[in-house]
């Protein structure tokens, strides 16, 4: 599919989504749908660095949390609209991505993953000690009422998150087919070889960090509006980091579709399990699914498909 056609289809999906508040009357599906879409954005953002360039980011919640806190800060200090909040979050995420990239220039693999975990805890400690952001107690975030057209705050943030998801997927797809994506793949295959054959690995790595960070931070921006409350423990939760890497892993990391499938599948199952199984077996199920996928389908669902076609 050509890029322009892809964008048209993506816009159609978004337009259809905008109609949903008029069609679906039950708000619950927007609550659950929001979470699923949030993970589509996170997983897609993660995959730009983790899938295309092969750098495993274990600290996605650092970016998510930074985005969420930036949005809450902008709202509290200046009362700006949610779009400005998202923009601000995006900028912070990209800067944070750049900083991470610079700090970790010399390391790869598990070391990079550990550095990103450290980033989460450093940021969390920072927020803990910032009185203005509510410290450890968290802050209440009562957003302005949503435009009447959407019929409710949740429908509104759902549509915004859908817009972010569409934008993130288009970005990912564009990266995939452009020279940037080829550069990323070269880095993943072998960084020294790429460097030797003239690929600007350093610049590309920083670019991947920044783009990935910006997208994941954008995913965090509407979160305070969604929960009307923000606390450091859930904003920097380890589980966000786990989901961010598990979803592309389940879907497949090589193309834009993998994270989307993985996020839709895993997040829906988690939402469903929360309101059906609803006990410790919920966590057990997640654990076992992760193990099963790593063992049985290491290249994700898409990988399985390609493998079976090749065979």
């Amino acid at each position: 599919m050509k890029m322009t056609r892809f964008i048209i289809v993506a816009l159609l999906v978004f337009a259809t989504g905008l109609m949903l508040p008029k069609v679906v009357s039950n708000p619950y599906y927007f609550y659950a749908g929001y979470v699923v879409l949030q993970y589509v954005v996170i997983a897609t953002g993660w995959n730009i660095l983790g899938g295309y360039a092969g750098y495993t980011n274990f600290g996605s919640s650092a970016f998510f949390g930074a985005g969420a806190y930036m949005a809450a800060f902008l709202f509290k200090a200046l009362g700006v609209s949610i779009f400005v909040q998202i923009l601000g979050a995006c900028v912070v995420g990209m800067l944070l991505g750049l900083a991470t990239g610079y700090l970790t220039l010399r390391i790869q693999g598990v070391y990079f993953a550990i550095a990103t975990v450290a980033l989460v805890i450093v940021l969390e400690t920072l927020v803990h000690n910032t009185e203005y952001l509510g410290g450890a107690s968290g802050m209440t975030h009562l957003a302005d009422p949503a435009p009447a057209w959407f019929g409710g705050q949740t429908q509104y943030v759902f549509c915004i998150m859908l817009g972010l998801a569409v934008a993130a997927v288009v970005l990912a797809r564009w990266i995939e087919v452009s020279w940037i994506g080829r550069g990323f793949r070269a880095i993943r295959a072998s960084e020294p070889a790429a460097e030797a054959s003239g690929v600007p690995t350093l610049k590309l790595k920083l670019l991947a960090c920044a783009l990935s960070g910006g997208v994941m931070a954008a995913a965090g921006a509407p979160y305070p509006t969604y929960t009307s409350y923000l606390d450091p423990v859930s904003a920097f939760s380890l589980l966000i980091g786990l989901n961010a890497l598990a979803m592309p892993l389940i879907g497949g990391t090589r193309s834009w579709l993998g994270p989307v499938i993985g996020a839709v599948l895993l997040a829906s199952v988690q939402q469903l399990a929360t309101v059906t199984i609803s006990s410790e077996f919920n966590i057990l199920a997640v654990g076992l699914v992760l193990i099963a996928f790593v063992v049985a389908a290491p290249e994700g669902l898409l990988g399985l498909r390609f493998r079976s076609r090749a065979a």
């Binding site: 700090l103 390391i107 598990v110 070391y111 975990v117 380890l238 892993l249 966590i283 654990g287 790593v294």
Partner: protein, 292 residues
Amino acid sequence: MVVLDLVLNALATGLMLGSIYALLALGLAITFGILHIPNVAHPAIVIAGAYAVVMTNRYGVDPVLAAVLWMIPFYMLGILFYEFYARSFESRGGGNTLQSLTLFFGASLVIEVALVVAYGTDLRSVSVGYVGSSLRLGFVAIPYRFLIPALITPVVVFLLWLYLTRTNVGLAIRAVAHDERAVSVSGVNPAAIKRHAFGIATALAVIAGAALVITGPIDPFAGRIHIGRVFAVVVLAGMGTIPGTLAAGIIIGIAESLVMSFMSPSWAPGVAFAILLATLALKPTGLFGAGR
């Protein structure tokens, strides 16, 4: 005088905390540092070990003794676990970072739930005579609750170091880490050696679990707060250096303790990771590690 008092006490506390951190990280220093397996489940295994110790302690068995007894079953479990890992990964040339991290994370979730199902979610602790009293040296007071676990670490580190540098199997473990193919050429089965090393790492988790539960009560999710810190210790030490792990643990412990005494306790959790980030940025091989 008051400042000196505080500094000395902070140093003593940091020294012990650090020693306990090192014990927690020791298993990981083998799995991650030597075998290059990012075993994120290690803290969860430590907690499982702690529960084993708590259950044995109910019959009046001393926690440290209980831990030593439990080492053998945990060694076996470690071997089984490694076998599972190897069959899923090593056969296709080793899993990548993403896959192994996810696998071990899944495993730690399973361990947590297993503990919840078996023992509930209440806080558990051990009862030993020396908890609640302390050793006084001048104006430094050292709680036995920290002193005993802290003293275990140097002993374990020394034994482990002897084992790895003075025995054939130990040398083989280090050789496997260094160059697997060369080892297999020399007639040693690298898979068996790795399995053995993983078993030892798992067995060490019980000792760490005993140390942790002597210092204070635990619940099934108590491992989560240690995941970052144990990796910090191993990386700061430099991959695979066993005495280095002790030193790195102590550095982090003392840094945290000083921050707690002289800045504010609420900054302390960030200290280990600020040190870690700095290490990774400036000297990725760690303080005591050789170049990779």
